[in-house]
Subunit: 349 residues, 2 copies
Amino acid sequence: MKKRPTATSRPPNSHDVARLAGVSRSAVSRCYTPGAYVSESTRQKVERAAASLKYQPNLLAKSLVTRKSSIIGLALSDIDNQHYPAVVQQLSEALADSGYRLLLFITHGRIGPDPLLDEVLRYRLAGLILASSSRSSSLAIACQTAGLPVVMINNVDTNCRINSVSATNVEGASAVADFLVAAGHRRMAFIAGIEGESTNDERAQGFAGRLAELGLPEPQVAVGAFTWQGASEAVRSLLRGRRPPEALFCANDHMALAALQVSRAEFGLQPGRDISIVGFDDLPISAWPSVSLTTFSHPTSALVAETLASMAGGPALDVHLRVPGELIVRDSARLPGTRARSPIHRSRD
Amino acid sequence: MKKRPTATSRPPNSHDVARLAGVSRSAVSRCYTPGAYVSESTRQKVERAAASLKYQPNLLAKSLVTRKSSIIGLALSDIDNQHYPAVVQQLSEALADSGYRLLLFITHGRIGPDPLLDEVLRYRLAGLILASSSRSSSLAIACQTAGLPVVMINNVDTNCRINSVSATNVEGASAVADFLVAAGHRRMAFIAGIEGESTNDERAQGFAGRLAELGLPEPQVAVGAFTWQGASEAVRSLLRGRRPPEALFCANDHMALAALQVSRAEFGLQPGRDISIVGFDDLPISAWPSVSLTTFSHPTSALVAETLASMAGGPALDVHLRVPGELIVRDSARLPGTRARSPIHRSRD
DNA sequence: TTGAAAGCGCTAACAA
DNA sequence: TTGTTAGCGCTTTCAA
């Protein structure tokens, strides 16, 4: 009951190559398996045949039998945050070196039982990287239960046992507090992201905690939801208040840029002189001279390296790695007196 | 510490479900095939068994036998161009609705024989979308020859027969020329991207062509290579020249932002008053009040829609679709006299 | 070192 | 409507 093999326009398979080369299919397979025993003459015959047929081994079939996929899922939510393009690029390139590719799952920020979950599992991925800041870790938990390595980026959930890699949010926010206090500010505000997300909560806590230690009043808090619009509103409400803050610490640069925008355009304030604005993430745009945002920087390269290490690191669970960063002092916030000069200063040139 | 989610550490397969449900494997398969004949009682038995085993059909195995993959390749090069996050997001979401997922291939902008080529073919993709602006179409050609649908985004190569979807570059650049001429400018310059890439060449040609039609002198040209750094240098060299241009048309917004930056910070020019700067793409940031870049906008949604249509459109080759756009007039370029008001004006609010 | 044979998990043609 | 059977293209023991 044999069908006609070649008449149809199907890609060549190992059988075709084997026949043309006059060897067995196993021999062909071995030529594509690093470290397998193949004689030089066989290899040559196979390579010649493969080239003439333009043969490429079917990776899906390979995955099926080896039960090892070369595809890693990447779940992303807020892709408009300019922090992520660099993360995606570096992840992709680093993984490519190890033979992995990223399959994109863009979560629309939907809530409820995740339809993504079924999908993700059906691909039999080699791993899953969650760079989406979803409130629920159900996807991650389900995947981990199913046995695939899961790492969350910039999202720590200590309730479940999902590995994570993230910035030193508490330390960073604490450094920002030190910096603003050294500059002589007392009345401060925090533009929050989404409450309940670790990235936001840790930064909030690091900031408020340090201020408390220094005996300063609690910062006002306005929620910006990590969006441009939300942050703009938050800043407006603060600056319109009876006693507007002298300094604004925003839970990320994306919101700090909005804050810069609003204070300048709508309130006529010059950041760095009339108001101090500090962000977190150090986006590329934050370094532009016309923006010049003081911010806490944490290297993407280290984040990516740790993420890969964490995925490859075997069955260890509940490991939460931190990538250290540093305060980048630019012009959007008042400088401390000459005595208390900040660690790093990047000037306009 | 050994983790054992189930007795066997392999995910459940259709056989397991069939056995538990007391039916055949085909019956299970049919339950996951839309429009197959399954009795209600069988379906119930299968669904119950699948749920209790947490069964998810293996998509790779399915692809193997159906010879149809649900994975579409997306090749990207300059991911730091902020035009692409939106494209990626919208592509991903639109494709997800049809059951497809994007597999990311980030090309490092390398030249030479493409190592990506083998990789791409090995995945037996359902299609390939090229959003990378590489000069060579060899990858695209090889894939198309291998029989998979290929679409190039914002990159037209009429020498090979690869389908493409792109902006109306000539018309857009022509509209920019009209606009700048109406504003009274005569001495203009074009900040080029990479010469040889259609996106650049068409914009250059549309601009220069229209100026010629209007009897104006040829624009000066300086190459910015689509990079921030390159564009900055190009602008510097022009503005330092003996007769600096009154108006700058940049081959994309990414470079126009650099131009804005340099003219303001290094030459003390106020865009819209002392110099006119116009871009192409209408990035999100271009709409920010502090940026307010006049630019030619072409909707990503239409680009994405046409791309999908082109992929699904069967074997038609050499089809080159265009997505129309419109000039968005903001503050970075001088306005034509009140009489010749531009089509659209987005004010600060 | 090589080839034969037995699957990986699934679908699809056919028969019942 | 259901089950049986024969592969999809590959790797991997196991003999030779």
